[in-house]
Subunit: 355 residues, 2 copies
């Protein structure tokens, strides 16, 4: 850990860790062997198609031909979302950078940029979204249930996992975010999400620049290499509990959840892997913390995880992890011909390109 980059502040806000607390299960976080002051994730989607559909193929072709370039992402993945926040199927990709300069060059000058900004995108008969997460290091945290399997941000250059002890208590997520030591990370809009007036994003581009402390969480589950007993336990026992928890978040604006997507990783042939992620955008992480600390649906997930960790010890092979970004203001969320209720179009304020 000595040679990895990290930020710490002398606390003006007390940590949440109870005095003398020691976690029951080992956990890891991501670090980099060089300064990474900015972390970037581009979340891209095509709405209203299944993975094999023509629009999905065109979308993925446009991406694939733009990824392996000098300023391209360090890692990227493809998912299927059977039902997005509007009930439509979607094909989704995420791409990661650890250089704001490389990302901006790609964003302005790549072949993909030309494809994305083309007026033709409004005529494709599908919707598209582009949710660009540009996050200072001090506003992020990650946690992994084991140190070896790497996915998401963990596939960027010169990253490694380090063991932590900031886990296993309520508030640990916040404590892991360096800025939380000196900043309450509150939304200026409060925790409860109030949807804006109805907006119809069909037939046009709508851009939402996010309010301060809008938070993005990607929570992942990997059981591709699990032994049959643990895989069965995940699919039959843990996954239904996760689903009920996500249902609760989606259905309750008081949790701060603006929207949530359930994603299944696709392999290079477009086939589903035994690997999934929840991608959620929150107005304020305090609502998620409240749910985690008090709600039965989270207690069920949490107890199951701890019990299986203790039961299998180092043999535990269902891997869970997440990455969280509590964003500065004005991250750009763009929607092209999307269905009403897609993404941040739910809250506004909206803008549209001017000519």
């Amino acid at each position: 850990m000595e040679n990895t980059y990290h930020i710490t502040y002398e606390r003006s806000i007390p940590e949440r860790r109870p005095d003398g607390f020691q976690p029951k299960n080992a956990r890891w976080s991501l670090r980099w062997r060089r300064p990474t002051p900015t972390l970037i994730a581009e979340w891209l989607g095509v709405q209203g198609v299944e993975p094999g559909g023509a629009a999905a193929r065109d979308f993925l072709t446009a991406l694939r031909t733009s990824m392996d370039v000098p300023d391209g992402p360090e890692a990227w993945e493809v998912f299927f979302c059977p039902q997005d926040e509007t009930g439509r199927p979607a094909v989704v990709a995420v791409a990661y950078w650890t250089s704001a300069t490389a990302h901006a060059a790609w964003s302005c000058g790549s072949r993909w940029a030309g494809w994305w900004h083309s007026p033709a995108r409004l005529e494709d008969g599908v919707g598209y979204w582009r949710e660009t997460i540009v996050c200072p290091y001090e506003r992020h945290e990650t946690i992994y249930s084991q140190p070896h399997y790497r996915i998401g941000l963990g596939r960027t250059r010169e990253s490694e996992t380090v063991e932590i002890t900031t886990n296993g208590y309520f508030g640990a997520m916040r404590d892991r975010i360096p800025l939380s030591a000196i900043d309450p990370l509150e939304s200026p809009l409060g925790v409860e999400v109030v949807q804006g007036p109805p907006l119809d994003p069909r037939g046009r581009r709508i851009i939402v620049h996010s309010p301060l402390n809008t938070s993005v969480i990607r929570s992942g589950q990997f059981w591709h290499d699990s032994e049959p007993e643990q895989a069965a336990d995940y699919e039959d026992a843990l996954r239904p509990k996760l689903d009920r928890g996500m249902d609760h978040l989606e259905e309750h604006a008081s949790t701060g959840t603006i929207f949530l997507r359930r994603l299944t990783n696709l392999d290079e042939h477009g086939e589903p892997r035994r690997e999934t992620s929840i991608y959620a955008v929150l107005q304020d992480i305090a609502g998620l913390e409240e749910w985690a600390a008090r709600h039965a649906t989270h207690k069920a997930i949490y107890k199951h995880q701890i019990a299986k960790g203790l039961e299998y010890g180092p043999r535990r092979d269902v891997i869970t992890w997440h990455e969280v970004f509590v964003l500065p203001e004005n991250n750009r969320f763009e929607y092209v011909n999307c269905a009403p209720g897609t993404g941040l179009t739910r809250i506004g304020p909206w803008t549209t390109p001017a000519a």
Copy 2:
């Protein structure tokens, strides 16, 4: 200096300081006695009026009644701009915060926010701008020719000046920006400014979210308390040289200058002080560096300053200083009923509120 907040990175990009260089004149930078990861400046303007005009009074009243509130700015100033970048007179204000949370709360919830967002602003018969600079600490630098007089960002809470030796050579400005140790700070658009297609911002709100590394410089001059000889030298000899330098920047897109405003501080009675600032927005600081290193108009300013510093020594009482912000992407520049050519409307991409 031990107890002040600062960020340093192990360099992967060489510093510009020549080997063994020692500056001829003492200089100071600003630090804070607590972590200040985000620095904020709101630049606000009313276009097309003189200081005494009704619209200027209404604008300043709206501001004054919103400043002394819990989340209000830590410091603010008022200026007159005899000719803005479109040739019109303007009354300008700047307000500073060192808390992103306080700023966002003010920005969303203050009385001023209600005034600013009101549709009535489009009917006032004047233009308005709001250029909101939200800058990570690692992307800023400041320099002062003496340690005691405080203005601009230097009036924020728990700030102090510390003596530096990163001054007096070409490239020192870049070397003082902490991130420059590991990041080239290049614009994805290159150095030379290419104006967008003509856009008419009259009669509507136009918002530009700035490209990565758009830079804002406020360069200040203070001779209010100068002895007559030095005041006369400033007004008769140095100021004309500064003016010619600024003319050059304004007239040459190759310097990276998008626009530039010459501002005179007003006192509490609305009368001009012997204190001025240049406020300039640049696409890439490399163009400014090139001008500073090579152009005759800068050499004239630079030589004059060094000579007067050596001539008067500690008696030198014409104070010069600047603050520079090399911004992350998507800082918000908003224009309401402004004249064509105002501010970042020159470059786009533009958006406008959607309903």
